[in-house]
């Protein structure tokens, strides 16, 4: 213990230094030392006191840094219920405050450090909610918690051997951990012949577990007491297995061939590959397994919510079907959508928060983003050679149900028009590896793209060579297909515009000081207007100096926004907004989006991997 204080000049126990504004370890130690009563100090001896002081000073030194939140476990709560959970991370002074990204979920610290209680409103919109901890020193990163319509269970170990598998009543969502190397988790369900079972693992996204889960569905044979003196022990024979479905996370829709017991098994490899064939596991390998029969909200069609309306209709799909491309009869349900947030009003689609679609009677929830254009749903004609007629700009959503399917859309263009065709499939978590082809009226391919920006999703920029009708088609590079081969094709005019970006999502300003927020401006297609960048939502005592970004020099790409807090500003953490307004005729306004909000490659489907688009400012005491 004495080693902790070797570098610090030893204070005399009876020293009482004058109060100072600095927060150096030395002064903190001294301050702490002042709390040790003289009588106590004399009794236990100098060394011991120094030891106590050292420990306390460390604690205080830690308190000086913003808190960290790494995970909340279990992974979800049923709406209308309360659940106690463990928040993993580093918290200075407990209790901390909690914030969620949208109403419907409340988080409260309990007495024990790290223990929290989550309260989900009965009418909370199902989906992933992002929670953060706040204390006087700062704001943590947001971590996801699911609010669902189905019961939430926790894994009960040991459940690796077949006859110890955890019996489940469906529908249910289980929060589990592949806790150590070689761990295998098994869950037992009873199914009737022909019944569907949907099993979805969410681990790598959005929970961020560094694991590559593998999901198996096996039939259990034996293990029942029988008439023979030596009954056969229970064995599981795998019928279906999946390694990757949405990014690294697997999902299976399985149809039971006969009445019986079925085992759902989860194990994992590390998401960063190594040369060990053995299964991996750690405390960070937390996963959420949703099990449902009948239906499950895997994703929704169409995959966009138009800014200008209309609101829907949306159909929730289970992703179930057979090899010939016939979706299961129970696969589709009408879906409701979360109400639009007031704060998103008036902003373009790319700056808005994601919406959540759900069906109250079905487990799961699916996110869909906004779009500035009309939302079009591909109809059967799209899969024919003739194609579906659409008017651009549009956001078209569809599915390539069977192998070899090609979705074709006809549109009219005039010479010189510039269009951008962007397909989102892998980024939304679908297995489709799309390639987009542009054909003229004769059917000859005049432009195509398979992968753009080192991603699997294509992006094609095109100028119409002449007036006339053209066709854009989307197909799988490998000519695969299936019920989960969904895509979103955005066809929009290439126009000058810009985006604002901020590297972090939280900033700290000390009362009486300033903080600089670097803002990057991504000017596209030669956006030349001057942009005025502002911050809003600032509390009392905090001001910002607006900055102009002109289209020349360094300021074209990056500016610094200075936020000043007066000495009297109250310590608090608030959500702020950094906005930009272009001062020219185009008059485009945008909100800054933190880099952490960008979707992770390959994430999506039922769980989009990006964090909410929030910026936080913490004013700390001087």
């Amino acid at each position: 213990m004495a080693s902790f204080v070797t570098n610090v000049p030893r204070p005399t126990v009876l020293d009482r230094p004058p109060p100072s504004a600095s927060t150096s370890a030395w002064s903190t130690t001294s301050t702490m030392a002042s709390f040790v009563p003289l009588s106590l100090a004399l009794r236990i001896g100098r060394r011991a006191v120094l030891a106590i002081v050292a420990v306390l000073s460390l604690a205080l030194a830690a308190e000086a840094a913003p808190p960290k939140l790494t995970a909340v476990f279990p992974t979800g709560v049923e709406r209308g219920r309360t659940a106690s959970m463990v928040a993993a991370g580093e918290f200075g002074k407990w209790p901390v405050q909690w914030r969620t990204d949208r109403p419907g979920l409340e988080v409260v610290s309990l007495a024990d450090k790290g223990k929290v209680e989550l309260r989900a409103a009965a009418d909370a919109v199902p989906g992933w909610y992002w929670v953060r901890a706040i204390d006087a020193e700062g704001v943590t990163a947001a971590r996801p918690v699911f609010v669902g319509t189905t019961r939430e269970l926790e894994e009960a170990e040991p459940n690796d051997v077949v006859d110890k598998a955890q019996a489940m009543e469906l529908p249910a969502a289980v929060s589990g951990k592949v806790a150590k190397s070689g761990d295998v988790d098994g869950y037992l369900v009873l199914l009737k012949a022909g019944e569907w079972l949907h099993a979805a693992v969410e681990a790598n996204q959005p929970l961020g577990a560094p694991m590559d889960a593998v999901l198996q569905i096996a039939e259990v044979v034996g293990g029942l007491p029988g008439s023979t003196p030596f009954p056969r022990r229970a064995e599981a024979f795998v019928l279906e297995q999946r390694d990757d479905e949405t990014g690294l996370d697997p999902r299976i829709s399985f149809r039971a061939p006969r009445d019986g017991r079925y085992l759902v098994r989860v194990f994992a490899f590390p998401s960063e590959p190594n040369s060990t064939v053995g299964f991996a596991g750690a405390d960070t390998y937390a996963y959420r397994l949703t099990l449902a029969t009948a239906a499950f909200v895997d994703f929704v069609l169409p995959l966009a919510r138009p800014v200008g309306g209309p609101e829907g209709p949306w159909t929730a799909e289970s992703g179930a079907g057979d090899n010939t491309g016939t979706p299961a009869a129970s696969a589709s349900r009408p879906a409701q959508i979360s109400p639009a947030l007031a704060e998103d009003d008036g902003w373009p689609a790319e700056d808005r928060q994601v919406s959540w679609t759900f069906d109250p009677a079905t487990p799961g929830a699916a996110p869909i983003p906004w779009t500035n254009h009309t939302s079009v749903l591909a109809i059967a004609a799209a899969l024919s050679a003739e194609g579906q007629k659409v008017a651009l700009p549009a956001t078209i959503s569809g599915r390539l149900l069977s192998a070899g399917s090609v979705a074709t859309f006809r549109f009219d263009a005039t010479k010189g028009q510039r269009w951008r065709f962007k397909v989102d499939a892998r980024t939304l978590g679908f297995p489709l590896d799309a390639c987009v082809e542009l054909r003229d009226a004769t059917g000859a391919v005049i432009a195509e793209n398979d992968d753009a920006n080192n991603q699997r999703d294509p992006l094609l920029a095109w100028t119409a060579p002449a007036d006339g009708e053209f066709r854009v088609s989307v197909r799988d590079t490998y000519r695969h297909g299936g019920p989960r081969y969904a895509f979103r094709l955005t066809a929009e005019a290439i126009a000058a515009d810009y985006g604002l970006g901020v590297a972090n999502e939280s900033f700290i300003v000390v009362a009486g000081k300033t903080v600089e927020i670097p803002v990057t401006i991504d000017r596209r297609e030669g956006f030349a207007e001057e942009i005025e960048i502002q911050a809003s939502g600032l509390p009392e005592g905090v001001t910002v100096a607006a900055v102009k970004s002109e289209n020349k020099g360094d300021a074209a790409k990056a500016v610094k926004l200075t936020i000043s807090a007066t000495a009297a500003a109250k310590p608090d953490s608030v959500r702020i907004r950094v906005t930009g307004m272009s001062t020219g005729p185009l008059a485009k306004r945008h909100r800054a989006v933190p880099a952490t909000a960008a979707p992770a490659a390959g994430s999506g489907g039922g769980s989009i991997g990006y964090a909410p688009r929030e910026l936080w400012l913490t004013i700390t005491a001087p």
Binding site: D243, E272, D450
Partner: protein, 839 residues
């Protein structure tokens, strides 16, 4: 017609007669002579015979009376006045007078010699262009010929132009280095290859003297060779002579017996010498003699039946449950072999359970089976077993040996997904043609479509060619990568044209980076990509190895006939449009076409070998004319049945296991004790490593836990050979560093025996408190009942009286506990061959 002129004088007659004969023989090149021996009274001959000395002088060399009475096509008779020198062929098989002439064209004057027609065959038959000599890659001592003469232009240049043309000396042919070395007049590492008195020497000499003509006018090309006889039965120690005929593109034929090379695939049964004379050994058996002339091959199947006569009722009495029985009995009848008795019920159940699902029947199942008196119980057992979930893992594990690569090379995730794809195909009972088609045309990511891992492992077209042709066509093409195949008709052109099907496999993503290789790689059809011939640099378009003939199936069913016509058209069309679409699709269509004989034959042979202990063709994936099946009609019939059942592997297994041949006992009788290839009895085979380990776990009731597997998994569910297990390695699991395809070795070794006896894990299973043995000992069963249960557990049969007595004695031993006795008996039985072998 030629006639020999007789001379008035005895000796003169002999000499001039022989001179004329030699002249006639050489000029007309009629080496096959039907010699009518005629007594020429004027010369005082009173007996039939031709002197051996005369034979030698004339060096005719090919005589022997064919047992089948080979008399076809006699066109030339030659009368020889034979003057004995005291030697006399009195009798028998290799007596005088020989073969028939066949189509030798009588023409006056010297026949012109061509390089390919006349010279190359001599170089080939004398071994000049063979592998150890001038035919190897760098030639020998600066003189290189193409292997077995597959490149005539190259060889012609080597002889006439290279080394400044000093190998041949047209002005004084005998002084040519070619001849001097060949007869060892000049020092020659190969020794004397040609006898200076032989016609071959004369031919070479004449060719050099004629100015080294490359070709003759309107030179025909040799198209095929035939051998007579092509099927033969010999008595022990009997001899017979082969005659090889070359057929040319202009319809002519020529005897090439002297210029062919001969090889027996079982020289211990039937040996053949350099001149094509076969000699049968004293023991009964079968062999195939290959005659090779240049690059063309013909085969003669020789069989030495067992001596003694078997009454035909023996065979007509035998049960015939399907076509397999009919064809096997027919073969056995021709060899005089009598099949064994049918196997008893208990052994049948154990055998068919191990074969179909790799698992022993439980004692309950055995008891129920033995007690049932239903005449259809065996068929029902087969049907039940084919529906068990263990079926998929058992058969997928066999295919995993052939396909699954080392995870250190391609990545753990890729191997996991590949293994899953193979297993999934068997779980869903995917038709075999669809399985092959999906594998060969696979596209997608190694993380999502495991089948593409084949292309991640084998990245170049030539690497893919060898594995695809071997596994799915039974054609081993490796030799043809560099030169013409020595035993088959495939050449480099064929190899690289086949490889061209894989030229347009494009990929994106991350390539290999052993030992982790964890990146994702995707495979798709690229727009461009070609394969070039390695020597000529010519771009080779994809071409199948052979065109599909519109042949009706051997069973002669009408449906196959009409189907093949349509499919032939389709196959041709797909081959032609190979460059337009994905060439691999065209290849898959050609391979899986019903008219492709190899595709179905190799898989039925493989499955048959698995069940019967030996393939109809061995090695199982080496189908070629020079490696003929032990029962050709059986192989074709199995293939036809498989096609008719739409390539359903379960149906094939059902057909085989239902046959009487499969259900024969392994006990020998005196007439089949030496038979190891005609299925007169069931051949015992040591069980596979995984089957044994799983059986051990089932019997002792203590399951295994393997690393990288869910606990209590079975050994045949393991997804990579990198998962450690001493037991599996000891019992022949392939080495993880070995590239697929890997074939298992069913040998028994001392290490295996020692392992079974001493391995601590195995011992633990037997003595475990949670195990079956402990439960047996703790139960209320009497010792006799325990003994019976143990025999049912390990051997899947009831013990006989003697065995019960042994068991009783074990339990009655002094100071032995019930538990100990049970353990001892179980342990003892587990260390016997009856457990380790499939009976």
């Amino acid at each position: 017609m030629c006639a020999a002129a007789g001379a008035t004088d005895d000796r003169k007659a002999k000499q001039s007669g022989m001179a004329i004969l030699r002249h006639v023989v050489q000029q007309l090149d009629c080496r096959q002579l039907f010699v009518l021996l005629v007594l020429h009274r004027r010369h005082g001959l009173s007996r039939l015979g031709v002197s051996r000395l005369a034979f030698r002088r004339l060096a005719l060399g090919c005589f022997g009376l064919s047992r089948l009475g080979f008399v076809s096509g006699v066109m030339l008779g030659l009368m020889i006045a034979a003057y004995g020198s005291g030697e006399n062929y009195a009798s028998g098989q290799d007596a005088a007078t020989a073969a028939a002439t066949n189509g030798a064209t009588p023409s006056a004057g010297v026949r012109p010699l061509g390089f390919e027609l006349d010279i190359q065959p001599i170089l080939t038959s004398r071994g000049c262009n063979s592998g150890p000599c001038h035919g190897k890659a760098r030639g020998q001592n600066g003189f290189q010929l193409s292997l077995f003469g597959f490149d005539s232009d190259f060889d012609y240049d080597a002889l006439t132009k290279n080394a400044r043309g000093r190998r041949v000396f047209p002005a004084s042919p005998d002084r040519s280095l070619l001849l001097q070395k060949a007869v060892a007049l000049a020092p020659h590492g190969g020794g004397q290859r040609i006898d200076p008195n032989s016609p071959e020497y004369e031919t070479l000499r004449a060719w050099i003297a004629a100015g080294l003509p490359r070709r003759i006018e309107a030179e025909p090309k040799v198209e095929r060779v035939t051998v007579a006889p092509s099927e033969l039965y010999l008595k022990p120690e009997e001899t017979a002579q082969l005659a090889v005929t070359a057929h040319y593109s202009d319809g002519t034929t020529r005897d090439v017996t002297r210029l062919s090379q001969y090889q027996s695939n079982e020289s211990g049964v039937v040996a053949v010498d350099a001149m094509g004379k076969m000699r049968a050994s004293p023991i009964p058996g079968e062999a195939t003699i290959m005659a090779r002339y240049m690059n063309l091959i013909a085969t003669c199947n020789v069989a030495i039946p067992l001596p003694g006569v078997v009454p035909p009722e023996t065979y007509s009495r035998l049960p015939r449950r399907n076509f397999i029985d009919e064809l096997v009995w027919k073969k056995l009848q021709s060899l005089g072999i009598v099949p064994s008795e049918p196997v008893d019920d208990a052994r049948f159940l154990r055998r068919v359970s191990l074969d179909l699902i790799g698992r022993l029947p439980t004692p309950e199942e055995t008891r129920e089976f033995l007690a049932s008196s239903d005449p259809a119980k065996r068929d029902q057992a087969i049907d039940r077993l084919l529906e068990r979930p263990e079926y998929a893992d058992h058969w997928a594990a066999k295919w995993a040996d052939l396909l699954r690569p080392n995870p250190y090379r391609v990545g753990i995730k890729a191997v996991l997904n590949y293994d899953h794809w193979i297993r999934d195909s068997f779980r869903k009972n995917k038709p075999y043609d669809q399985f092959v088609r999906e594998l060969v045309t696979a596209q997608g990511s190694t993380w999502r479509n495991g089948a593409v891992t084949l292309f991640r492992d084998r990245r170049e077209p030539d690497e893919i060619t060898t594995i695809v042709s071997q596994l799915f066509l039974g054609i081993r093409l490796e030799c043809a990568k560099c030169h013409h195949h020595p035993f088959e008709k495939w050449g480099q052109d064929d190899f690289y044209s086949f490889a061209a099907y894989f030229a347009r496999i494009g990929h994106k993503g991350t390539g290999l980076s052993p030992p982790i290789s964890g990146g994702e790689e995707m495979f798709l059809t690229a727009k461009t990509g070609t394969v070039k011939h390695p020597l000529t640099g010519e771009v080779l378009p994809p071409r199948p190895l052979f065109p599909l003939a519109a042949a009706a199936s051997p069973m002669g069913t009408a449906t196959t006939g009409t189907a093949t016509t349509a499919t032939v058209t389709a196959a041709t069309a797909t081959a032609e449009t190979a460059m337009a679409g994905d060439p691999r699709e065209a290849l898959a269509a050609w391979m899986t076409n019903d008219a492709n004989p190899f595709f179905a034959q190799v898989i039925v042979n493989r499955v048959w070998a698995d069940l019967m202990g030996r393939g109809v063709v061995e090695p199982v994936d080496d189908l070629r004319a020079t490696n003929p099946p032990s029962n050709g009609p059986l192989l074709e019939a199995l293939a036809a049945s498989f096609r008719a059942e739409k390539y359903d592997l379960k149906q094939l297994l059902r057909t085989i296991t239902r046959s009487q041949v499969y259900q024969l006992s392994s006990q020998t009788n005196e007439r089949n004790v030496a038979d190891t290839r005609n299925y007169s009895r069931h051949y015992r085979v040591r069980l596979r490593a995984e089957v044994l380990l799983d059986a051990f776990a089932d019997i002792t009731g203590v399951p295994d836990s393997f690393g990288a597997m869910p606990p209590e998994s079975r050994a045949n569910q393991i997804w990579t050979t990198r998962i450690g297990s001493t037991f599996l390695d000891t019992f022949g699991r392939p080495n993880p560093n070995q590239d697929p395809p890997c074939e298992r070795n069913a040998d028994t070794t001392v290490t295996q025996t020692l392992h079974l006896m001493n391995a601590p894990q195995l011992h633990q299973k037997v003595v475990s408190d949670q195990g079956r043995v402990a439960a047996l000992a703790a139960s209320m069963l009497t010792p006799d009942q325990i003994v019976e249960e143990i025999y049912l557990m390990v051997y899947s049969r009831l013990p006989d009286t003697e065995e019960r007595e042994i068991g009783r004695r074990v339990f009655a031993e002094k100071d032995i506990t019930r538990r100990r006795a049970t353990e001892d008996l179980v342990w003892a039985l587990l260390n016997t061959p009856e457990f380790i072998f499939k009976d």
